[in-house]
């Protein structure tokens, strides 16, 4: 089994516990050995950059340095914001020797050193590239036939652009959903922002963003919205009642992590995927399949 340096990120220890559970179960079943790195710290999300970007890079670099020490080559994050921060910090460390030197000077305090040699990847990329769609299909025990799924890419998984890839209309999430027998829906909001921390700092704006997303997915007939990021998941799921109050709607659609949906298709028991621990019950969702 290939081993990966696994960085869960803070959310997976609290609100996104179902993501943690399902990511581990599904990875194991797919032959991916996720090794959680020791004593990792918060990646800073988007909050450091308005204060000091060098500090932001340093905190991410500490996690990269801890992962490098394991000797593993791939750094895997299930959270899109953690992934984006790790990906770009790793890149900048490689390209900017002055930055790397300064950050390594700070890391000395914790007897660490970073080179920027890791391959930083999001969990969904690992599933698609290292496992592959064919192998995923072979693991499906209960194809989710007839289940209409709105894949929600969100922001930080896709952006900023890394290497000329299609960030306007990516298809890989849809392909993964098809592989587990579900029916992916096309909808324009799939790459629009969920509002992220604006849910706190500019509530009206964020609720409007969540509202548009829910509206489009539901109008297209979605049974469930599927995400790759704790922040997206929480914003779209937890704030449905606020959206309903603000906009006079009556939305109640389940929101799941892609690993939860994969786990269901693969026949893993719901409780082991953290299902029934979420705010919006999944009872009406895919089990019928």
């Amino acid at each position: 089994m290939k081993q990966y340096a696994y960085y869960p990120g803070c959310s997976l220890e609290s609100l996104a516990k179902p993501y943690q559970l399902s990511a581990k179960e599904v990875s194991l079943a797919l032959g991916l050995d996720l090794r959680e790195i020791e004593d990792w710290n918060c990646c800073g999300a988007t909050a450091y950059f308005p204060v000091d970007e060098l500090l932001a890079y340093t905190l991410v670099a500490r996690n990269l340095a801890i992962a490098e020490k394991t000797g593993l080559t791939d750094f895997v994050a299930p959270c899109s914001a953690c992934f984006k921060n790790a990906y770009y910090t790793n890149n900048y460390l490689k390209k900017d020797p002055d930055l790397a030197d300064h950050i390594n000077f700070a890391l000395e305090e914790d007897s660490l050193h970073v080179e920027g040699t890791l391959k930083v990847r999001h969990l969904i990329e690992v599933v698609l590239e290292d496992v592959g769609l064919e192998a995923v299909k072979n693991k499906v025990a209960h194809p989710l036939a007839g289940l209409k799924v709105a894949p929600y890419y969100g922001c930080q998984l896709l952006r900023p652009r890394k290497d000329h890839e299609d960030v306007e209309n990516p298809q890989y999430f849809e392909e993964l959903l098809s592989a587990i027998g579900a029916e992916p829906l096309e909808y324009a909001s799939k790459t629009r922002c969920c509002g992220a921390s604006l849910i706190i700092t500019n509530r009206k704006a964020a609720l409007e963003m969540v509202h548009l997303l829910l509206k489009e997915a539901i109008e297209r007939g979605a049974d469930v919205i599927v995400t790759t990021c704790p922040m997206c998941n929480v914003n779209v799921e937890v704030y449905q009642s606020q959206v309903n109050r603000e906009f006079g709607t009556n939305y109640s659609i389940p929101v799941m992590y892609f690993t939860q949906l994969m786990g269901m298709a693969m026949g893993i028991a719901p409780r082991r995927l953290g299902i029934a621990r979420e705010p919006v019950p999944k009872a009406q969702a895919p089990v019928s399949a």
């Binding site: 959310s11 340093t58 922001c155 930080q156 952006r159 900023p160 922002c193 604006l198 706190i200 704006a205």
Partner: protein, 187 residues
């Protein structure tokens, strides 16, 4: 007296290390404004802000809510035909306003950033932003979060630990931070 630097040049200096093109490349095409998911809630659109910076409308730019309304989703950045990292420019404006304490009154963003960074420096870990507010004073949004969590039974079911975990090597972590930000006792 020496010629004073324009606001446009000040922002260019804040962005000297940006990975995109300088904002002087802006065509004023408005793609960013058309793309921005938060534009309706901004005092000025991103396109207008860039134009105002270039025309040195320093007070107006700083007093607007535009840059603190940016969710850093990078949609504008990937679409900008002039190759400007506009989300990065918003970060530069946030830093400028934080360092000089010059931002619009009543915004939550600066307090939130401050509280979040403080939380991480003190523990090495965070709750996700929406949870952070529950534990950080001063946030008017605290009630909203509490309500959302209660409505969905999350708090009652005991799904959330009461305090963020701490990393093990916290002291060393803090010394690391102090090598970057030269403040505080070195102990």
């Amino acid at each position: 007296m020496t010629a004073e630097l324009s606001f446009n040049q000040e922002i260019a200096n804040m962005m000297y290390a940006t990975h995109g093109n300088p904002i002087s490349h802006c065509l004023q095409c408005g793609t960013c404004s058309g793309t921005c998911p938060a534009v309706e809630f901004m005092d000025y659109t991103p396109r207008a802000i860039i134009g105002m910076i270039r025309e040195n409308f320093k007070d107006e730019v700083l007093a607007s809510n535009t840059y603190w309304s940016c969710a850093s989703c990078y949609h504008c950045t990937v679409r900008c035909p002039a190759g400007i990292d506009i989300a990065d420019m918003m970060y530069a404006l946030k830093r400028y306003s934080m360092w000089k304490s010059r931002f619009k009154e009543g915004l939550i963003g600066p307090d939130f950033s401050e509280g979040f960074v403080k939380m991480i420096v003190n523990s090495g870990k965070s709750f996700e932003p929406i949870l952070a507010t529950t534990y950080l004073p001063k946030f008017s949004a605290g009630d909203l979060v509490q309500e959302a969590l209660t409505a969905t039974g999350l708090v009652l079911k005991g799904k959330i630990p009461l305090l963020p975990k701490r990393i093990k090597r916290l002291k060393k972590f803090q010394r690391m931070v102090k090598r970057i930000i030269p403040l505080g006792e070195l102990s």
